[in-house]
Amino acid sequence: MKSRARFLKKIYIGLIFIFMYAPIVLLIIQSFNKSKSRAKWGGFTLEWYRTLFEDAGIIQAFTTTITVALISSAVAVVLGTAACVAMQRMGRRRKNIIMGVTNIPMLNADIVTGVSLMLLFMSIGMQLGYGTVLLSHITFNIPYVILNVMPRFNELNPHVYEAALDLGANPVYAFARTVLPEIMPGIGSGALMAFTMSLDDFIITHFTTGAGVYTLSTKIYSEVKMGIKPEIYALSSMIFVTVLVLLVLVNRVQHQMVRGEGDEE
């Protein structure tokens, strides 16, 4: 009886994984398929990856994606950390309210965020394009930074900063030497998560971008409208692998953070 129950459990979990990952596995297989038809296997090839890297439009989109992700996560880290510094000094009630407000964009439907940002940019007369995409990404990245950094602030002994001041440090030096090292793991995982979210985003970018400015995800979308090319499989597979690696990294950083605390005990 027992072994049968265990067997059924394994079947069940297996089915879940098949449903979740079979499409992606299929996508990756297709990206190596020599045949242009999806119905038959024409042999292994890296052809589609090669043509991908020769496509100037794709390279352009790739550059845009990476720079937007880098700049937006860097700016979000600075703004988010500054917000945490301020929030840490608030009373519990005000802190909870602000935390709630910053969490809303994360839970909010992307399409609502995207459309409302687009409306905002247009109503103040901004030209939609690289700048507006970057601003949007910074906006939705800040909550992820706060989410990661704030717990570190909550654990911080507030007297440590004061002790540095007491020993003659000016406020900037005291922050850099005492607070920053303690919150660094949070900043690290926050930055990685923000980077991943930016890389990953389609909907908000779709609504806030202008003519001729593409990120990889919006590029794929526009190409698909004209008919699916095998290069798209290759591109999608690469995005999937990149995001997967980043997520593993985020987990590793957070795990180390927990372990680091264990050491202090």
Partner: protein, 356 residues
């Protein structure tokens, strides 16, 4: 002794909550001053105003003749030992101690010598390269003190530094602190809610409650001659009774007249009196001023604690000789052991006196 710190008419509130109300205090050079009181009495706020971490709403902080009320902490020539130590956990012991000296751009041979000297002073020689995380609470406390004193402050501020240590360690550290102060020859301002700690270490105790100073004086004075019921109650066990001052040198407790040494309270005036339990002498029946019946007996180690019912009021007595429950005893008190105090006059004083 020369006056070093003068707090002048300091007031501080957070929102509607008044923490300090028109507090004035003088601290002398080379004095061990303890701010003593229950939590919320304003003692820590007073210390933080001295350290520069809080700015008073009203009043001035004068340090060595100079107004430092608005000077930031990093510009003040005093150092603080924080509650829970506040060590830099990602640095070694040596880096912790050198933190202030490096900011002052001292050369490395000077710094190394200072580290060695400070570690020797707190009995932790050879701990330079240890990680702070590996130290016990008592050792961390010593490092926190070493980190503060290498900067050669004129005043060391200590905010309940022994609060997190166990009893035995706490007692050892009390002696260490007294020794340290004598070796360094600087002023200590110490905050605690532990009256035993205050009595053991201080030159001067400042008893605080609800933002007011209740009494300032030497430990002996505070213990033996409390000025009001709050001080009497807060410092040690005590029999705190309402009484009537019949005339000079005669006080009546529940109708029983006792000789005392106090004068100037007028005649038939209601007062409060304090008698320390160790000053309540138990004799055999009818051998004392008044008879009472023992209702409780507890062994406390050094002495026995007995509760005696006298005319419906419970007296606490300490003695090395036990009197058993049910026994009728006579009670005497030497006249100089009865401390007579005015009843609180205003409502403010009343509020300050009742409840901890």
């Amino acid at each position: 002794m020369k006056e070093l710190i003068h707090l002048k008419n300091i007031s501080k509130s957070y929102g509607d909550k008044v923490i300090l109300d028109d507090l004035s205090l003088v601290i002398h050079e080379n004095e061990f001053v303890t701010l003593l009181g229950p939590s919320g009495c304003g003692k820590t706020t007073t210390l933080r105003i001295l350290g520069g971490f809080e700015t008073p709403d009203k009043g001035q902080v004068i340090f060595d003749g100079r107004d430092i009320t608005n000077l930031p902490p990093n510009k003040r020539n005093l150092n603080m030992v924080f509650q829970n130590y506040a060590l830099f956990t990602h640095m070694t012991v040596a880096d912790n101690i050198a933190f202030g000296l490096k900011i002052k751009k001292k050369d490395s041979s000077y710094i190394n010598e200072k580290i060695r000297y400070a570690l020797k002073l707190v009995n932790l020689e050879g701990f330079e390269n240890r990680s702070v995380k590996t130290l016990s609470g008592g050792q961390q406390q010593r490092i926190a003190i070493a980190r503060a004193i290498v900067n050669e402050p004129r005043v060391l501020l200590l905010d309940e530094p022994l609060g997190a240590l166990d009893l035995k360690l706490r007692q050892d550290m009390q002696y260490e602190l007294i020794r340290l102060k004598n070796e360094l020859g600087i002023t200590f301002v110490y905050v605690t809610h532990d009256q035993q700690e205050a009595l053991t270490m201080s030159d001067t105790i400042v008893v605080m409650n609800q933002g007011y100073i209740q009494q300032t004086g030497s430990p002996e004075k505070i213990y033996n001659e409390p000025e009001n019921a709050f001080v009497a109650d807060f410092i040690g066990d005590s029999n705190l009774f309402p009484a009537v001052m019949v005339r000079d040198r005669l006080v009546a407790i529940d109708g029983t007249e006792f000789d005392c040494v106090d004068t100037g309270f007028g005649t038939n005036r209601p007062v409060d009196i304090v008698i320390r339990p160790e000053d309540v002498k138990l004799k055999n029946e009818n051998m004392g001023t008044v008879n009472g019946k023992v209702t409780d007996l507890i062994f406390k180690g050094v002495h026995y604690e007995m509760c005696v019912d006298v005319k419906g009021r419970e007296w606490v007595a300490h003695s090395t000789r036990p009197r058993y429950v049910g026994e009728t005893v006579g009670i005497t008190v030497d006249p100089y052991n009865i401390q007579v105090m005015n009843k609180p006059a205003s409502e403010d004083e009343e509020a300050a006196a009742v409840n901890e």
